[in-house]
Symmetry: C2
Subunit: 197 residues, 2 copies
């Protein structure tokens, strides 16, 4: 590869990083409807032509931004299983509240349904996000019960945040963890499952 | 009120219903980014001027559509608590899959954060949606445990649907209900809660 090509690579990478940062800032402050070529070009200091050349569709701009989203927040890996699960869900909750992760999740849900590149990013982010909860619960249950327990606990953070605009407090997270740990620890009693019916 | 005013009222109501139906159709097929005054006017057969006069912002068009969303789907109210809970979550899952409820939920999450009218609609729809699960669980737990159990179960449907684009099958729903019912039925054992830690 020639020195010129290396120079071009560096420039493209820098442009890409600038665009990603700008789109994420717009998402956090104004929402996805404000992510337009004109607005991103203006704020990032590039020409609209440059943006349209590299990223012709609005979805392309979102892909650049979502692709730059790093590892999901995770809690401290100390203490017993219950403590770690609570810390893990608190870290998820804090990421939603402090780092604008809610907007990212909404975009992944909305655009992942129609844009393959965004679906792939969604799968990476969600798999990473749920990985520690899954690992912790996998020592207690497996198969369909593991899947259900992972969705129950991540859903208990997601549902109040997205559907009530009220992120769960520590008490709700602790109570949810206790219900699921108790429900997973109690042996199943035949085909009817939980005896609470 | 004069006959003329009544005539105007009927016309406004009819226009409103036409716009609501058109916006919901666009949402279901093409997503929220296609809901523009131009597109809605074209498909509904009104002038852009009429739309801008009554509903100046894009959010206003969404409010009209979301406001027209009726009662949430609910399951059959027969059988024991476990059977009803499973049926209720299946009805929620089916509403998401068959009736495009996923798009509605995503819009409520995204726009409810910034638009008060949409937040009010979100609260109505979510309260209705969770009402039967809450009622069924309220005979088993109360206070924070009731809140946690409601979020756990609705989250177990919401999370795989929005975050994995994979609505839960009947097995996952049943397993989730059994974990939560067992977890709620087992008495708490002091400050550490679930004994599984």
């Amino acid at each position: 590869m020639s020195a010129n090509n290396n120079g071009a690579d560096v420039r493209v990478r820098r442009t890409r990083a600038d665009i990603a940062r700008t789109v994420l800032a717009i998402l956090a402050r104004q929402g996805v409807s404000e992510v337009t070529h004109a607005r991103v070009a203006e704020l990032a200091g590039y020409s609209k032509t440059t943006l349209y050349t590299h990223w012709p569709a609005r979805a392309d701009l979102l892909v650049v931004a979502l692709d730059s989203v790093g590892a999901m927040p995770h809690g401290p890996q100390t203490g017993d299983r219950r403590t770690q699960l609570i810390g893990e869900l608190q870290a998820f909750r804090d990421g939603i509240v402090d780092d604008g992760l809610a907007t990212i999740l909404v975009i992944l849900a909305e655009w992942g349904a129609g844009v393959d590149d965004i679906a792939a990013i969604r799968d990476r982010i969600v798999t990473d996000g749920q990985s520690v909860v899954r690992e912790l619960l996998s020592k207690l249950v497996d198969g369909p019960r593991l899947d259900a327990a992972v969705h129950l606990l991540t859903g208990a953070v997601l549902c109040p945040t997205l559907m009530h605009a009220t992120p769960p407090d520590d008490g709700l997270i602790t109570t949810a963890v206790d219900i699921v740990l108790t429900g997973c620890s109690t042996p199943r009693t035949g085909p009817t499952g939980g005896r609470a019916a």
